[in-house]
Symmetry: D3
Subunit: 339 residues, 6 copies
């Protein structure tokens, strides 16, 4: 994960920071003030903590020797308002990065938490993140990484997979089938040219009835066909549990019991539970918006000690908040890529 | 906006693309297929279109001569399922970028649309985007840019302000006041060291009653005080319309009618309307989560013509969709930074 | 309509009457009582009046000379608690038939009212009643008749069509296509053997994608194809407005603009409005349960005058209720089949 | 039940069938096709199965030797989409009767299911069906029969009682009391002329306060009075639990503890539960609309095997559906009236 | 209204005041402090102002010469948080009475506001307050007075009527009829012994059906009968609009068109509107709980000026609140009973 | 409680009675009728019985020897429609007082029941009634008494405390602090002049932030400070659980752990539960409107026996209602003040 620890120059320079933090640094410098402060960071809602490793990379890059950091590990559950990160160091060393640290945590924790909800609903059926297309390419890899921290079994983009230490997963897009003009032709071409280790998964809702198309590709590829993907659009009623059940029986009756069924298109936790209730879960869920449109979980950073004195703004408790779950972080290890 | 047009290598290389698009390119190449296709892109919900300029930068960088692009302008309103972008070119030139193009549009259009809702509720009172801290620093500038496309009057990060061609706006953070231990001391230090063109805005909810603190800083800075910012935390009941009205009267009674009131902390369109209804709008709204947590608006890209033949997957209409609002884009101008 | 006026022996004998009416007749006879009474019949809810012609047939068969009957015409709107029928005659002549008269009115008025709701929602698109299969065959013709009184343009059973003076309308059942094993084969066979005046309407959701199948039958029958019927089952998402719009375009693009689209399967007034809102009404609606499962509209018969004296039970107003909409009925004409 | 098995000529001739079934028979005959098919019939909702005996009478009349029928028994509970009837025979023998068979099952199962809900709510207090007046006299006997299959203890029409093998039950109608002009006079006349085995039940809400009238008839008839019926109209607040409780006490205080209380008028399952909760159930419930206005339960007939080959339309599973609850029916016994 | 101005010794002595006001007086006296203060009193909700005359009586009894009082008149509408009373005087003169003044206003304004809602719903039909029995006899006269301030045409208690300058209104209680054992006997006795100016109104729901009883008393009293009162208890379905309509017709048919109908028992504004909608308003409404159970409208007293200096607690605006609707009160006139 | 038993002349004279009771007495007297009657009194809703002692005082004053009274004790729970009081005596002795007796019970039982709900929610934290200011001073003592019967630990007015046999409880009003112009000054003055047994409780939301003010008064009074009262107005977000928690910590951190926290301002049972849920209950709750605005619980008085004969109006059961919870009351003891 060498790549992940590469904090960008825009962050390090404060270009992405709220400008009042730069100004604060200038004022404190002019006044000759640089107290050691303790800042605590906590989420406003419960969820799955994500992004903390990237924050530690940042802190490892900027904190002087003697800076002390306590944190919950990446991927842990966290309660609302539970302190997940505590930093003690001269304020000049890290005050500028409050915006960046909160942002790294907020958005990815939101995604990881949404992913976890889908994964729990799936009760063991693997869930793959397909939501990269709903977010800006500058963060799509972070989205995919967060989905995997939240429990997803894979993701669609190489950049995200690299962050998470996996291989990207994919089937065949509608565009390719439309160019070939026939699902079987497109799938056969895919089969001809792709390396053996790539699974053959046909997309079966482009031109014909999904069951008819599935039987056609199964006949054409036989044992080489790993699975079929159902992605019926809302204009045609989306993928229903009944369709999955019917397709399973028709594949089995026709002699293709090994062909797996992948369900995608508007899948979220509620819908996954519906497939389970109707006993039609399929073999894999592809989830997009249900993860990528998750609200960020707001995080707040509070200065709680200044030069040894407990302090707090109105509405908060002065001094350090006890949290026995926090672990002391060795920043020198973080610099070496050990989290 | 030279910076904006710099499409990153990760995007250009397909590293952030769903992997099946790379595989499609490989298969088509191996089959010797490269038809001219027309792809149409449309949103699933109505809103404010954002990100199209960045997509055009990408297309200007990759499309060959002869590629034809029609688009709605940045910042336009768009209807649900209205085609906002139509590309006609050899598929090999742009098929790989479907993920990136949709992502550029989806997330920023979601933000711009949410910003517009706040701006409309504010009925002329300026709205500033303060939400950079809720998203990853890699996209915080895009968020700020989208907020301004949606109608915001300013934003907090230099990176976002640069994208939008403005100056960043900021006050004083709680952390600085906590370090000084007194709001007046912190504000006076800010006043001593900041250039004249930076507005003096005191944050008045840190230690004392907001009205008491406002009068203290007004007395200390006099005419140099541009305004005060109310950011009362939820633990203390947030900023209420009554507080704004009371503070206005107390400032006026004490002889500080020029001091403006900035309202922040959990502000959204519904709450802005409430301030208006109770005739306590203040002079500026600072909005964070209400913009930064907006759902992406999903966009879809459909291949509609292949080598001149109308085609479509099930559920869609084959062939070109009429939309007289689209304008032909001159990509050579885009390359020169003209949008 | 000679058939309609044939009141069955089971009704005339009192076999279908609530037994206390037979006993009442016996007691009154034993006591030597037979006053002239005025009975008024009114519905508990507003709706479309149906069944009154059948009631008049019954009264024409049983009332002595001098009996006086006032009624609203078949198919009129009626208000809640509006008197729709007033009978003045010796009680012994008609008291036994209260159960039958109320039943004739209640159930068919419920059906006619539901049919009217669909017809009004359809705004001129014809609606056909297909609901015979949800009611007992002894009343299915009455259901079809009531649907037509309510405004339907046709019905599916010969018995119902005969009552209403029309021809039955039908397409092709799923069973026939399953026996032929192919939609085109079945439709061609239908075309070979049916008389010219029977419209050729193919059912296109049995085996293949509805659009694909529609184009296949259109190619096979050409100008002889009058229309296609969409009846997609709930397991496949039912018929959606988008499907109708897509099919219309695909038929037109392929050169079959004359082929009409019939929409059936779970169609009710709300859904008809949805098709209109989405500008996809099709050319004909087939409605089943939305009419056949309508609640009967309860009717009540009140004795209001006995031998010239106004009277009423508690809760009702004694004496005749004014209703200028009522028309005096000539029962001798009714006997001749004139309504 | 000889009467029940008399399937009418209108049904046998196909006159009540959807016309496309007649046309299908004609086409198949012209094509020389008559495969052996298996059709399965299932309800769309759970409930109480009714009408299956009448369907078996029909099948016994039309199926050739060798036809095979499996069914659930009359009055059984059935799950949604559970196969309740399976027919295997040449299609020409029974295809025409799909409309009639579904109709026989749908409407009566709806009624039986609604009756069961009332009977269960009554927790042992007998429920009598009084709803014949809300349906056409051609099916009122079927309604009464279905109510008894659903658990009712009796019904009001002789025709319905005959179908169910019982005696009809009745009290005194308002019309008779209005003709006599006094409840006591009417009840005494009834008592004078009715055979001893008919229960004397006075209707006590016509002219006077219900309690006052009850005491008057009790005084007049003494031990011969079996019960009183409360039928207070909605204009006077309907029968309330408090009225039942008060009447019980007043009858007991006045020395008529044997007089039973029958509750009627707008009674449904929810209201029966209310009487129980308030400890005022009375001795008998008369139920009308709550049963007679029940929605038919839609049934569907699917061809699942054609000449030994599993088949199904889209959305359904090809081949026979396992259901161990089905019992093989001996049609020769059915012909002899044994169900 | 000499009686009203008699402020009780318990109030004047501070016995009914919150004890901290007595203590405040003691502390201020001990400290030698007695500033002139301005106190403003406002309601938290909109409504009808009541009780201000009694407050003025209190102030007239305690304020020294020079005390200044501005007020809205009794019975005026008031907006939420509108200042309705402003007192300027030495604090020692009236500070002790804050509890009493607020209490006089709160409870009676709540009642007057509820009365107004009923009166407005009645659209001209007179409304009489019958709610004295739901409040303690020490305030029942205040309740009746407030109801009349709110627009009621009369009340039931002599004490309340005296406060309002009217005569009490009454009919006959159930207890009297139960003692006589017959409604007609009781009403005739009432007629024999009551002075001529007392209206004869029979209560007709005690023993018999309301219509039957009404006709009996009408026959017995003839032209001397002014009206009948319907008070059917909830156990018998309360008074329904249908009952009023039926009774009107039966009285008219029997030749008693002059007999008025009074509706009581659970009447509130919503129910009054229902009677109007169903065109059965009767001639008079008797309202109890709908007025007597009204929530008090909380009033608050704020010190806004102390010795000429504007001041206010947090949350309130320092200094005098403009309200051009206030009128200067001449306390010397108040002492003479002039309001 | 000698004071309580002093029934006022206005009650004894019938001046506060509904006038029809006076007229009834006149008519019965004129007719020479004075039967011994049994009247039963019951509430329409469940709750806490209050006011029965005052009713007994009244009965002790008016009933002749031989009058018999059964009652539930003051403060008992009572079921809806449970008889709580039964009086047997000549009607002339008590009929006039029906209005007064019902009123004494209705309003105070409503208050006691609401108080009980708060006390139960508080789970042992004491609740003080502060609602005297929302009701007329003629009943404010009755309100306070009822609150204590319902379980409150104290009340604010001396009159109410006297009725309940307690001492009134109070802190410092906003008015006093506004007059002193500083919370610390006001509290020190209070401390100087109040007797030692009066608890020193500072009101801390008048001028400054509540926590800042609390620390200031704690420093000024030290160990003499018993507690602080939070009464933050709605304009500033009311008292939140977070504020209580924060203040507790800040007091403890500053070395004032003995200072108690009193919570007031819009406190009701739901809000008390919220404080418990968030683990911030404080040490005392001050409750106003939640008790004082409780609806009266309507009580009804029914004559059930007249001269030994069971009787009742329609809707009620004639004769005595069994209730083994009732206790025979010795009125001679009541006259001596023994309840």
């Amino acid at each position: 994960m060498a790549r992940q620890s590469g904090i960008s120059e825009a962050v390090l320079s404060g270009h992405t920071a709220d400008i009042y933090f730069s100004r604060t640094q200038a004022v404190l410098r002019a006044e000759g003030l640089d107290p050691v402060v303790t800042m605590e960071i906590f989420p406003n809602d419960a969820g799955i903590l994500c992004g903390v490793n990237e924050v530690l990379d940042l802190l490892a890059a900027v904190l002087p020797t003697g800076g002390e950091v306590w944190a919950l590990p990446e991927g842990e559950t966290m309660a609302a308002r539970e302190v997940v990160l505590r930093i003690t160091a001269p304020y000049s060393a890290f005050g500028l990065y409050e915006t960046a640290m909160l942002g790294m945590l907020s958005q990815t924790s939101g995604w990881a938490t949404a992913a976890r909800a889908c994964v729990e609903a799936a009760e063991g059926i693997p869930v793959i993140s397909f939501g990269g297309r709903h977010v800006h390419p500058h963060v799509s890899a972070r989205l995919e990484y967060a989905a995997i921290v939240g429990g997803c079994a894979g993701c669609a983009t190489p950049a995200g997979a690299e962050l998470a230490g996996l291989q990207a997963i994919g089937t065949i897009p509608h565009a390719m089938i439309l160019i070939f003009g026939d699902t079987v032709e497109a799938t056969l071409a895919f089969d001809r040219h792709m390396p053996a280790e790539v699974r053959r998964v046909a997309l079966v809702d482009t031109f014909k009835d999904e069951c008819e198309e599935s039987l056609r590709v199964a006949e054409a590829l036989g044992r080489r066909l790993w699975g079929v993907r159902l992605d019926t659009p809302p204009e045609r009623g989306r993928v229903t549990p009944d369709l999955v059940k019917e397709l399973r029986v028709r594949l089995d009756q026709a002699g293709y019991p090994w062909v797996k069924i992948i369900v995608s298109g508007g899948v979220d936790a509620a819908r996954i539970r519906l497939f389970h209730e109707q006993e039609a879960p399929g073999d894999l869920f592809g989830v997009g918006s249900a993860i990528s449109s998750a609200r960020p979980i707001d995080f707040t950073g509070d200065v709680k000690i200044v030069d040894g004195q407990p302090i707090a703004k109105r509405g908060r408790i002065p001094g350090m908040t006890e949290n026995p779950r926090l672990r002391r972080v060795d920043l020198s290890e973080v610099k070496q890529g050990i989290h």
